[in-house]
Symmetry: C2
Subunit: 245 residues, 2 copies
DNA sequence: CGATAATGTGTTTAATTTACACATCTAATA
DNA sequence: TATTAGATGTGTAAATTAAACACATTATCG
């Protein structure tokens, strides 16, 4: 019998046996970290919290918690969001799991990173002191332990994802102008886009509903307001295709 | 003090305190499942193993194991691969983590799914009995517990990923003809492609090295053999861009 | 040596992306 | 109320990319 013969350890075992094996190997703590993006003052921001470890009180971290034994992984991420923001219909998606041995000084912790996109206006933070704040992503230097690495991974994920999936609208008010939408994309992608081509692109997708309203209180000609038509999108969304490295 | 004040549980704690918290919440077992794709006889295949649970002995499953406490998550996936295939320079990438409460009857198990692409010719399986075998993905009906869901997720991942990243070559011999490459893409994407446009596309990418050799033992005019130029690709690979839903 | 079956190649057309300029509208100001 | 400032709103030409499509070439097999 070769080593290739093990599946979850030996061969031909009972469910009961596996149960005790599972029991005995619960040596790894599982946590969730949420990278929560917001968009305010034409800047992309991320929600950070001051570490509640005394030793690292000058360092910021992502919002996270250990996963509860009786809690779905996704539910765990939702719970963390809810505690912090007051929730609504948040966009939440799992991105990556970080599981290096030495990544957490308190022991073996494996962390599943989730990204959330929320509208800063609609979700006033429950606590507005130093503990919790929106941080511009440009000036993000250091985070607790490997959290910067997690953030970087999620930011790259966002840059890619926002180009092939309509996430971005979760960062905007329900009704938004095309200028706001373009500002958002420019902030996320960190580059200037041609205004005319940007409009053409979105209009040709045909997922924007003209609300027949205009911006209020802008010191210039107000732009039209639109909503994203999620229903239509779900019907007509394209399957990604085209080989291109 | 609001509920928003908890980070990893209370506030202002010590590393030592967190340590014991981590200790006490190790109630979740962590495992890795590998979805190992192969390509043989112009069919896309997946490596399956017969469940070693007596009760489920008629059901196949993915290759997996519990993550060891002192083992990096990625290393765990490599270990599983190595045990089964004899390894070499395998392509391995994390895809998604599955963490619903009821997904495993032996208790709370969270599973990180990895995808691997291997060349069936180069990696003769260590065990060739019923336990371990290549299964055509077309005729894949049912797998143990939620493994079919995991497989489906990984297959969709592969279909998308193979179009924007040069993974596919890991499924082919070092030297391959363009016909083999096209067969591979047709098998993965499950659709016919235009031969001339396919060639044009890959030649224009300019990542194929003409080996100056031809296929042997084919019952027709032999095609030229190529290698993929990974070095050149790393230098010149394009950043994915272009908004398109 | 002829038949077979796959390789290898190019052009035309359509679709998409990019670059680019000017009139229009509203608010603010004089 | 007229002027200005500053943003909105729109179209076209050029370039690039993708899609459709046919025939000569070459090795093998009988």
């Amino acid at each position: 019998m070769t080593t290739a013969k093990n599946n979850t350890s030996g061969s031909a075992k009972t469910l009961k046996g596996l149960q005790s094996e599972v029991e005995s190997t619960k040596r790894i703590a599982l946590s969730v970290d949420c990278v929560i993006f917001g968009f305010d003052e034409n800047k992309l921001k991320v929600l950070l919290i001051r570490s509640d470890l005394k030793k690292y009180h000058d360092t910021f971290s992502l919002l996270g918690d250990l996963v509860k034994p009786e809690e779905d992984l996704d539910a765990s991420a939702y719970r963390i969001l809810k505690q912090r923001t007051g929730l609504n219909d948040l966009y939440l998606e799992q991105v990556h799991t970080f599981g290096e041995v030495g990544r957490h000084p308190a022991g073996r912790v494996v962390t599943v990173a989730y990204c959330s996109l929320i509208n800063v206006q609609h979700h006033k933070l429950k606590s507005l002191d130093n503990e919790l704040h929106w941080h511009e992503i440009d000036s993000l230097k250091e985070l607790l332990f490997d959290r910067k690495k997690i953030f970087d991974h999620c930011y790259l994920w966002l840059q890619k994802r926002v180009q092939e999936h309509p996430l971005g609208f979760s960062l905007l008010p329900n009704k938004f102008s095309l200028r706001e939408l373009q500002n958002l994309y420019e902030a996320i992608l960190d580059k200037k886009l041609d205004r005319r081509n940007f409009r053409k692109k979105f209009f040709s997708m045909d997922f924007l509903i003209d609300m027949g309203e205009e911006e209020q209180n802008v010191p210039h000609r107000p732009g039209k307001l639109y909503k994203f038509d999620y229903e239509k999108y779900e019907m007509k969304k394209k399957k990604w295709q085209g080989i291109d490295f």
